[in-house]
Structure formats: structure tokens, C-alpha cells
């Protein structure tokens, strides 16, 4: 299974605090939903982004506040098409957010010899 091949060790289900209440969200399922809904195609499997497909913007680590994130996904009119709740459920969206929250910070750039000036 390709999805499994892409999956790597994730933290167990994370709790996502939503503006109007809280419910449990699964980072593990969020990773799968991130792949199934095509988010990774433009944003990369770790939400790292690309100047070719996301105008250089990153989703993770440290994603946007939930309200801004969910609002953008649901109603953007930019290059990324909006995802209505008919094609991306509230649960999947929360799980995706949990996954993005779980993405670890990269190593410090100064610790990567290949990126030293």
C-alpha cells in the first residue's frame, strides 16, 4: 500500500483545541487524510511547501491558528481550490490539522553542512 509506504511514525492521536470547543483529533489518521485528499501534492508530505505549488508557504511545523487554517481551506478563492464539507469532512479536516501540528521542527539550518554558505 502506497499510503502505508508514505506513513511514518507519528505521535498518537493529538488533541486539537477548536475555537468553539474541543474534540480529539488523530494525527495518524490526519496523515492519511492529508495524502488521500491530495494536500501533499502541493504542500509536500510534511507540509513543507514549495515555491512551485504553494507560493513558498509552509503548512508545518507551527501551522496557522485553527480558525484561519479552517477558514482558508473552506473558502479560499486563490489558486488552491476550496474544500467544502461535502468533499472533506470536519473530522478529516481536524485530523489533518492535528497531523500538521505533529510535524517536528527541522534541524537547525546551521547544523546542516550542505546548507552552509
Amino acid at each position: 500500500m502506497h499510503i502505508l509506504a508514505f506513513a511514518f511514525a507519528l505521535a498518537l492521536a493529538a488533541s486539537v483545541c477548536l475555537g468553539q470547543g474541543a474534540f480529539a483529533a488523530s494525527a495518524e489518521h490526519g496523515k492519511i487524510a492529508f495524502m488521500q485528499h491530495g494536500c501533499w501534492q502541493c504542500h509536500g508530505t510534511m507540509g513543507q511547501g514549495s515555491i512551485a505549488t504553494s507560493d513558498g508557504k509552509r503548512l508545518a511545523p507551527n501551522p496557522l491558528p485553527w480558525e484561519a487554517f479552517a477558514g482558508f481551506v473552506r473558502s479560499t478563492n486563490r489558486s488552491m481550490p476550496p474544500f467544502s464539507d461535502k468533499i472533506l469532512s470536519d473530522g478529516d479536516l481536524a485530523d489533518i490539522y492535528a497531523y500538521l501540528q505533529s510535524v517536528p521542527k527541522p534541524p537547525d539550518v546551521s547544523a546542516i553542512p550542505l546548507l552552509r554558505p
Binding site: F8, W40, G44, Q48, P81, K86, P106, V109, I112, P117
Partner: protein
């Protein structure tokens, strides 16, 4: 059937007629079994095989009668003399009978030198090789193609060369005389006017009917192709003319090639442009295919420094060193929004430079359009493409109003513009100009830090991040005289953002027309030119693009063209993925994936292609597929050694999408 006269005069027609009949009229044929068995001992006859006629059987099994000796010199020998006068070094080519006369002369009379025949497995690859070669060598190659079908194969690559302003001398074999040419296949492959297929995207074409005509046409074609704007040209070459003989060789002359000066901007327009730039508070220079040569890079530097103006490089060529503090490509949108004067040099799409378009279905589905510049901004353009615009294909892009527009070659106009700018700079503005430069130095440092930071994200990811792939490759080649011969816009442009690009051959831009199938053969062509210059060539190769013309790997192996190909193997046609996602979302439907990881039809998986095995099968050193970033360095090190030893090598890297 051909007439008796033609049978006597052109023995080749008898042979071809037999071949053609074999393909076309097998139904009324005598037993095939004996012939098949004789040719293939042990072969099992297939009941459905068509039976060859007696003529075909004889042609296939009986020694042909001795060819009648012709008096005089083969006409195609003279054609070789003409071609050699232009010092065309190579001829990437897929063989075909419609130019067999010329082919024979090139390898036997011409000694297979200048041009040297490079065997290609597809005409599209042959033209793309010539395309890539020019962008390194600065000299055009000649490509022979079979009339009609070979030209149809070549057409997309010719269109790429047209959009990218690259000269290629295309020669299409054709058999004009309908009363004499062989029926069947050769006639399927003939046409009244083969060049009509590519006339919309070639600069000039001709169909010479005599040897003096050929000499004039070929030299003219070369001259036109090499006059900016550089473009492909087409010669349709009659097979009978090639295979005729001449008794008057001594009387035939070859016109001398004298290069044409490139068109320069009108003096008053140059002065007006200089006045606007010199008095601007925030001038911006945007370049696409500006630097045709290393001197173009130097001249652009002089202009930018005189103005202390930022340069936004659209990277159609290596125009400007990214190590220079005036290289501000990453800040392009912001700089254009603040600009009061914008100078565009050889832009492919001026409208797209100063406007944005969002494919969001708004405005009755035509998408959101928005200007990126102030209404008061003055626009200047120097572009030679105005001199060569045709109507049908829309490579001229949307119409943009320009305030000062010069139909001229930018590189040729730069010396006059630099001088005019220096004269026009007000003395009381020099301090402001210097201050502008200081601000840009600071911005350059900050941009470089941000880019390195961006590259660190997903550094250890699998599939491998494209930034990691790029920097692992650079670590292996940075001490060599390297040349990046593939595009990089499909994987976040990391090489042109992070590698120090300073020389004109450090990168060669993209395909021009974005026709897929350009990447690998163009890289092989560029690597050929780099081989002659003693440079190391590296190509980041998209997987989808490679599958259009994988045979270019064999050509590289066959002709010992050293090239490191690093697969950007994201297992998909990612350009199309988002289109399907966008359409699905717009219609409020879940994009159907099937068993894939992207909308059905946009993925190259199930099964995954093993590019290492593919390359290996064609005699190319290969490694991979590699998904673990820690395995990259040792694999690349070995591949670099293979390339340094003179061989092509391929490392298959399974990557992030972009």
C-alpha cells in the same frame, strides 16, 4: 508501377516498390511459409501472416542485380560540401530512406565528421538534442527527418525550439515526383509540401529543386536561423535530387556565410528608455532570454550596477549571477509592485510579468485577473521576437501596452543603453542610487538566509525532499567545472536558488514551449557540447518527461556522452494533478484516486517504474530507486565517477512532489 524509364534510371525505386507492395498487397501472394522458414530457421509460421508476392520474395531472398553506375558526382556529395562549409559539428538523427542519399554521402564521402551522425531513437529526441546543444555551444545542429511521419514526430520539439528561440536546421527528406516514387509506404511518407506542418513555427523554409538552389537555400537557412531572434528553419529535400548525379560539380559554387548583425534598438527609443530608468526612484529590470552569450551576462551586470536596480530573472537563460546582490528574483512580486519603471528584456510573457491570473473559476470561469504593478508604472521592452511573430500559435502571449517598446535584440542593444543611462543619470541622484544599492545588499543577504532555512524543512523526509536532493548533488560536483543542463522550475528551483550560478553555461533554462519530452534529449545535447568543452553536465530529470523519449539514454551511451541524470521521480504528472483537484472541488466532487495517490490518470505508479533498470538496459550506469536521503551521497559519488570516466549515469531518486 513505376515507368520503365524510371526503373532504369532509379534502381532504388524497384527495390522500394517491392518493399511497399509487401506491406500493401500481401493478399494475393504465393506461399509465405517457405520464405519465412528460410529466413528464420526454427520459426513457427503464423497462420495469419500475409503471404508475400513473388516479387517480394525475390527482393527479400535473391541478390539484387548490380546497380547501374552513374556518371558524374553524386548530388548529395555536393550537399555535404555545402553543409561542411558551415561547420555543423553533429547531426542527431533517426535514419530514413527519404534522405538515404544524403545519409550515404555524409558517412562515406563526408567521413562522418562535421557533421557526425548521432543515432537517435526518435525524431523528437533528435531535435531536442540540437536544442540543448545550441544553448551551450551557441552553434546550431542539423537534424534530418523522414518526410511526413518523421517530421510529425519532430514537430513538438521544433515548436519548443521556436518558443525558446533556438536555431535548428531541420532537413526533411521527401520524394516529390509522384510518377516515379515507389508506391505504398514511400508514397504514404511523401507530401506536396511537408514543411507546411511546421511553417507556423519555423522562421523560414524552402524546397530546393536544383543543386545551386540547395546551396543558396541551405546557407540562407543557416543565416536566418542564426540571426536573432534565433529560430528553427526547414529545408524539404527531394530524394531524387539527393540521388541524382551532376557532371558540373566544378561549376557549382557554395555561397559564403557571413553572419548578420543582430537588430539594435532605435537611438531615440534607447535614449528615452535611459531617461526613464535614470530618473526612476524604483527601477526594476526583468529578464527572460536576455543573455545569448557570456557577454550578455556581463553587459546586464553593467546596466544593473549603473542603476543599482534589482534584477528579476525568469531564467529562460542564465542571465545574471545569483551571487550578485542585485539578483532579487525571490522578491520579484514585491519589487514589481513598488516599481515606477520596469525594463523587460526579451520577455516571453510581458503581460504575465506585470499581471497575475488565478485559476479559481471566477469571472464566469475565466479566472481572477489582477495587476501586479502600479497604474503609473512605465513599462519598457526590448525584444527581438516582435520581428518574428506569426498568427496561429499563441506563443506571443496576451497583449500588454508598453510605453517604450523596441523591436530589437536586447543583448545587442545593451551597450548603447548602458552608455545612455550613464549619461542620463542626474548628478544629484547618485547618492540615492547608491543608497538603493545598499538596501538591496541587505535584502539579498536576508533572502539567502530565508532560502537556506526553507531548504531545511523536510530535510530528512522520505520521499526525499527536492532541496536535499539538489544539495546532495551539488556537494558531489561543486569542485568540478559543472553545468546544469536541465530545468529546475518543477522542483522549487533549488539549484538556481542555492547553487552559485555565475557563468552562462551554469544553467540553460527550460524547453520554451513546455512540450513534454524535451528534458532528457535536450540535456544529452547540452552534455555533448559540454563534453567538447571539458565540463561536467548534470540533469535533474522529471519522470514523466523521461518516458516520452527514454531512448536518449541509449544515444548518450552509444556516443559516449557523459551526463549525470538525477531522477526527480515523484511518480506523477504533477502539473496535471492540481488541475484535476481544482475541477473536482469546483464541482463539489471528491477526486477519484482509484488505487493511486493522486487523481486517476495523473500518477505514474502501480507499477512503479524502475528507472535504474531502464537506464541499465540501454548501457547506462545506474543506481536506485533511492528513498532514504542518507543513501544519496554514496550513490551519487559513484555515479559522478562514472560520468567523469566519460559515461552517462543515472541515479533514480524517489522525491517529494515539488
Amino acid at each position: 508501377m513505376a515507368s520503365e524509364e524510371s526503373q532504369t534510371k532509379f534502381n532504388r525505386r524497384k527495390f522500394l516498390a517491392g518493399v511497399a507492395i509487401a506491406g500493401a498487397t500481401g493478399a494475393a501472394a504465393p506461399p509465405a511459409q517457405a520464405v519465412t522458414s528460410a529466413l528464420l530457421p526454427g520459426a513457427t509460421p503464423r497462420p495469419s501472416a500475409l503471404r508475400p508476392s513473388a516479387i517480394v520474395a525475390a527482393n527479400e531472398t535473391v541478390a539484387p542485380p548490380a546497380m547501374a553506375k552513374s556518371e558524374g558526382v553524386p548530388a548529395s556529395d555536393f550537399m555535404v560540401d555545402v553543409i561542411k562549409s558551415l561547420d555543423i559539428k553533429y547531426m542527431p538523427c533517426n535514419p530514413a530512406d527519404s534522405f538515404r542519399g544524403l545519409h550515404e554521402s555524409l558517412i562515406n564521402y563526408g567521413g562522418n565528421k562535421s557533421p557526425e551522425f548521432l543515432t537517435c531513437t526518435h525524431e523528437e529526441a533528435a531535435v531536442a538534442m540540437a536544442h540543448g546543444y545550441f544553448k551551450i555551444a551557441g552553434k546550431p545542429l542539423m537534424v534530418c527527418v523522414h518526410g511526413t511521419v518523421g517530421l510529425q514526430h519532430a514537430a513538438m520539439a521544433i515548436y519548443n525550439a521556436w518558443c525558446d528561440r533556438v536555431p535548428v536546421i531541420v532537413v526533411g527528406g521527401n520524394d516529390l515526383d509522384a510518377s516515379k516514387r515507389a508506391p505504398g509506404v514511400p508514397t504514404f511518407h511523401s507530401a506536396q509540401d511537408i514543411s507546411s506542418l511546421v511553417r507556423d513555427f519555423t522562421k523560414w523554409d524552402d524546397q530546393p529543386v536544383s543543386l545551386p538552389h540547395f546551396a543558396q537555400s541551405f546557407v540562407r537557412a543557416y543565416k536566418l536561423a542564426m540571426t536573432p531572434p534565433h529560430e528553427p528553419v526547414m529545408i524539404a529535400l527531394d530524394a531524387a535530387l539527393q540521388e541524382s548525379t551532376t557532371l558540373d560539380r566544378a561549376k557549382l559554387t557554395i555561397p559564403r556565410y557571413v553572419p548578420t548583425s543582430p537588430p539594435q534598438g532605435d537611438g531615440s527609443a534607447v535614449r528615452e528608455a535611459a531617461r526613464l530608468l535614470a530618473n526612476a526612484e524604483r527601477p526594476v529590470i526583468v529578464v527572460d532570454k536576455c543573455a545569448r552569450t557570456e557577454n550578455g551576462v556581463k553587459l546586464l551586470g553593467e546596466l544593473a550596477e549603473a542603476l543599482q536596480a534589482p534584477v528579476i530573472d525568469q531564467k529562460g537563460r542564465m542571465n545574471f549571477p545569483n551571487t550578485h546582490y542585485l539578483s532579487q528574483t525571490a522578491r520579484g512580486r514585491a519589487l514589481l509592485g513598488q516599481a515606477d519603471v520596469i525594463l523587460g528584456l526579451e520577455l516571453s510573457d510581458y503581460w504575465g510579468t506585470v499581471n497575475g491570473w488565478i485559476d479559481n473559476g471566477e469571472d464566469d470561469g475565466s479566472g481572477l485577473q489582477e495587476s501586479h504593478v502600479k497604474p503609473s508604472a512605465k513599462l519598457i521592452s526590448i525584444s527581438s521576437i516582435l520581428l518574428n511573430t506569426k498568427a496561429n500559435y499563441q506563443d506571443f502571449q496576451r497583449f500588454q501596452v508598453i510605453d517604450v517598446e523596441m523591436a530589437a535584440d536586447a543583448e545587442a542593444t545593451l551597450p548603447a543603453l548602458i552608455e545612455a543611462v550613464k549619461q542620463a543619470l542626474p548628478a544629484n541622484q547618485r547618492a540615492a542610487v547608491e543608497a538603493r544599492g545598499a538596501g538591496l545588499k541587505k535584502a539579498w543577504d536576508e533572502t539567502r538566509d530565508r532560502t537556506r532555512q526553507a531548504a531545511s524543512y523536510a530535510w530528512d523526509a522520505s520521499p526525499i525532499s527536492t532541496a536535499r536532493m539538489s544539495m546532495e548533488v551539488f556537494a558531489q560536483i561543486k569542485d568540478l567545472d559543472w553545468s546544469s543542463v536541465g530545468g529546475d522550475r518543477q522542483f522549487s528551483a533549488w539549484p538556481t536558488r542555492l547553487w552559485p550560478m555565475e557563468k552562462h553555461y551554469h544553467h540553460i533554462g527550460g524547453p520554451g514551449g513546455y512540450g513534454v519530452g524535451y528534458g532528457l534529449p535536450a540535456a544529452v545535447g547540452a552534455a555533448l557540447a559540454n563534453r567538447d568543452a571539458g565540463r561536467f553536465s548534470v540533469n535533474f530529470q522529471p519522470d514523466g518527461d523521461l518516458m516520452y523519449s527514454p531512448g536518449a539514454l541509449w544515444t548518450a551511451a552509444r556516443h559516449k556522452i557523459p551526463l549525470l541524470t538525477v531522477m526527480h521521480n515523484n511518480r506523477g504528472y504533477h502539473q496535471e494533478t492540481m488541475h484535476l483537484q481544482r475541477m473536482s472541488n469546483r464541482r463539489n466532487r471528491v477526486a477519484f484516486l482509484g488505487k493511486d495517490l493522486g487523481p486517476l490518470g495523473t500518477r505514474i505508479e502501480n507499477p512503479d517504474i524502475d528507472f535504474g533498470k531502464l537506464a541499465n538496459s540501454m548501457g547506462v550506469y545506474a543506481a536506485g530507486p533511492i528513498s532514504d536521503p542518507n543513501e544519496l551521497a554514496p550513490a551519487l559519488k559513484k555515479a559522478v565517477q562514472a560520468v567523469k570516466a566519460g559515461e552517462p549515469a543515472l541515479v533514480d531518486v524517489v522525491t517529494q512532489p515539488r
